[in-house]
C-alpha cells in the first residue's frame, strides 16, 4: 500500500470521531440532559462483545494479508524490473562489442596487410612485431565476436544423453592431457532418479563442458578432479570440482565477465572468454552456472540444465 493512500485513509477514518466529538461538546455545553438507555439481555451482550472483538481481530488480519499481497507484488515487480534491466544491460553490452568489433576489424586487416606487404616485411624485426601484435589484437577481436555469435545463434536442439556427453568430454581430455586425465573421477547418481535425455544443442553443450573440464585441468596441477552428475529438483546438475589454486576472493564475482582473468592465473595461457562462453551457453539452454572457489584450496563449478518432462 502506498504511503499517500494510507494517509488519506487515516484522515477519512478520523472524520466520524471528530464530527461526533464536536456534536457531543455542543450538546454538553447546551446542557443536554436526556439519557439513551438500551436494554440488552446478558447472553446477547456477551455475543455482541465477542463479535466486536472478532471484528477488530478480523480487520487486523485483513490489513496484514493486504500488506503481504502488496509486498509480494512489489517484490515481483522489482524482480521483473531487475531481469529486464539485466537483459537491457546485456543487449547494450552486445551492441558495444559488435561496434567495437566492427570498428577494429578493417584497421587490423589493413595493418596486417601493410606489415606483410612492406618490401622488407618478412625480414624486418619491426614489421614482424607490428604483425605479431596486430595478430594478437585480431585474436582478441575474434574471441569477442565468437561470444556475440553464440549469443545470437539459434539452438540446434536434439535429445542428448548428458552422461554420454560428459563421458566423451572426459575421454577427450584424457587423450589430450593424460596427466590431468588420470586425476579425473566421473561419478553419476542414477538412483532413485537418473538424469533423463535432455533437449539440447549437443555441440554447444560440449563446448561448455570442455571449457569447465579444461579449466579444472589447467588450474590444478595435482589432486583429484571430481566430475559429478545428478538429478536434483527437476534440474540436471553437473559439478566439476578441483583441488587447484582457486580464485582470489575479490575476483570470484568477475569470473564470468569477458576477458576477466584472475591475478593468480597470469602464468597460464587462456583467452579469458571461456567462462563467459559457458555462462552464455547455459543461459541459452535455460540453465545456469555458478562457481565457488577458495584461493589455494580449489574450485567447484556447477552447471544446471532444466529437465522438461
Amino acid at each position: 500500500m502506498s504511503d499517500r493512500r494510507s494517509i488519506v485513509l487515516g484522515a477519512l477514518a478520523c472524520v466520524p470521531v471528530a464530527l461526533s466529538a464536536l456534536a457531543a461538546g455542543g450538546m454538553a455545553i447546551a446542557g443536554e440532559q436526556r439519557v439513551l438507555a438500551i436494554e440488552v439481555a446478558l447472553p446477547g451482550a456477551v455475543l455482541m462483545v465477542g463479535a466486536l472483538v472478532s471484528l477488530v481481530a478480523g480487520a487486523l488480519l485483513f490489513g496484514r494479508a493486504a500488506d503481504a499481497r502488496s509486498r509480494r507484488r512489489a517484490a515481483a515487480a522489482a524482480d521483473a524490473a531487475g531481469r529486464e534491466a539485466a537483459l537491457h544491460e546485456r543487449e547494450r553490452h552486445q551492441r558495444f562489442l559488435a561496434r567495437l568489433d566492427h570498428e577494429l576489424k578493417n584497421p587490423l586487416t589493413a595493418i596486417r596487410a601493410t606489415a606483410v606487404a612492406a618490401p622488407d616485411g618478412a625480414e624486418s624485426p619491426a614489421w614482424r612485431t607490428v604483425d605479431a601484435q596486430a595478430a594478437k589484437l585480431s585474436t582478441l577481436v575474434r574471441d569477442l565476436r565468437k561470444l556475440a555469435d553464440l549469443e545470437a545463434r539459434p539452438l540446434d536442439l536434439e535429445l542428448v544423453d548428458l552422461e554420454q556427453v560428459i563421458a566423451e568430454a572426459v575421454a577427450d581430455l584424457r587423450q589430450r592431457d593424460p596427466g590431468a586425465g588420470a586425476r579425473i573421477d566421473f561419478t553419476v547418481t542414477r538412483v532413485p532418479w537418473a538424469v533423463p535425455p535432455l533437449a539440447a544443442d549437443v555441440d554447444l553443450l560440449s563446448l561448455a563442458i570442455d571449457n569447465v573440464l579444461g579449466n579444472a585441468a589447467k588450474y590444478s596441477t595435482a589432486g583429484p578432479i571430481e566430475v559429478r552428475l545428478r538429478e536434483q529438483d527437476g534440474w540436471a546438475v553437473m559439478d566439476v570440482a578441483d583441488a587447484g589454486r582457486g580464485i582470489p576472493a575479490g575476483e570470484v564475482s568477475q569470473v564470468f565477465d569477458e576477458l576477466a582473468r584472475a591475478h593468480n592465473a597470469r602464468d597460464v595461457t587462456g583467452s579469458g572468454i571461456g567462462l563467459t562462453l559457458v555462462a552464455t551457453v547455459m543461459r541459452q539452454h535455460g540453465g545456469d552456472v555458478s562457481l565457488r572457489s577458495v584461493e589455494g584450496s580449489g574450485t567447484l563449478v556447477t552447471l544446471r540444465l532444466p529437465i522438461r518432462r
Binding site: 568489433d101 566492427h102 577494429l104 576489424k105 578493417n106 584497421p107 587490423l108 586487416t109 589493413a110 596486417r112 596487410a113 601493410t114 606483410v116 606487404a117 596486430a134 595478430a135 589484437l137 585480431s138 577481436v141 575474434r142 565476436r145 565468437k146 556475440a148 555469435d149 553464440l150 545470437a152 545463434r153 540446434d156 536434439e158 566423451e168 568430454a169 577427450d172 549437443v202 555441440d203 560440449s206 563446448l207 570442455d210 571449457n211 579444461g214 562462453l277
Partner: protein, 239 residues
Amino acid sequence: MERSTRPHILIVDDDEAITVALAAFLDRSGFDVRVAEDGRAGLAEVERDVPDLVVCDVLMPHVDGREFVRRIRDRQLWLPIILLTQVGESWERSAALDEGADDYLNKPFDPHELISRIRAVLRRTVQGAPPLRAAERLRAHDLSIDRTARRVWRADQELTLTPKALTLLEYLMLHPQEVHSRDRLLSALWGFDFATSSRAVDHRIAELRRVLGDNASEAQFIETVQSLGYRFSAPVVAG
C-alpha cells in the same frame, strides 16, 4: 595488352588502406591485381575483363558483396569469388556459400591465409571441374543429394540424416578431393572455431559413415586424412 600468365585477381573493397596493402602483397606473391572501390565498380571491372578470381568485401556502398555475387552469378559467370565477411554471425557464412561464393574469410585475417585460400580455389577451378555449387543435385557413385529439397539417397533408398550431417555432406561433396581440417569445417559449417570442439565434426562424420554405410578403414566416400582432417574421395558430378 597481352595478359600475363600470372593469375588475375580483382580486389573489391571500399577501404583504401586495405586494398593498397593487399594489392602490393598479392602482387609480390605472384598475382596480377586490379582494385575496384565498391561492388558497382567491381561489376564494371568484371564486365571489362573477367579476372581469374575476385576477392570481395561484404559491406560496401552502392552494391554490397552479396549483391555483387548474385549479379555475377545471374550473368552465368562462374569465376571464383572469395568473400571477406564483415558480420561474424554464422548465418552470414552459410549465406555467403549458399549464394554462390566459393569461400569466405573473416576480417581481420592473416594475409597469408588469403593467399592459401586463393590458391586452393584456383586449383579447384583449374582442374576443370564443372561448377558443382550451381548444381541442384550432386552425385558420387550411387550416392545422390538434392540440395534444395535437403534429401539424400543411396541407390533408390532414401537416407535420414540430421540437418548438420546433411550440411556437412553437402559441403564435402561441393569440395571433393580436398583435405578439410576439422577447424575449417567447424568454422565453415558451425560458425565457430573453438579448437576444443572439433569433436563435433567427428560426431557428424561418424553419423555420415554410419548412415552411408561407409567404412573408415576402406572409405568409399569420406576418408580420414591422418592428423589433417577429412576428404571426400569419390568423384562428384552434377545431376
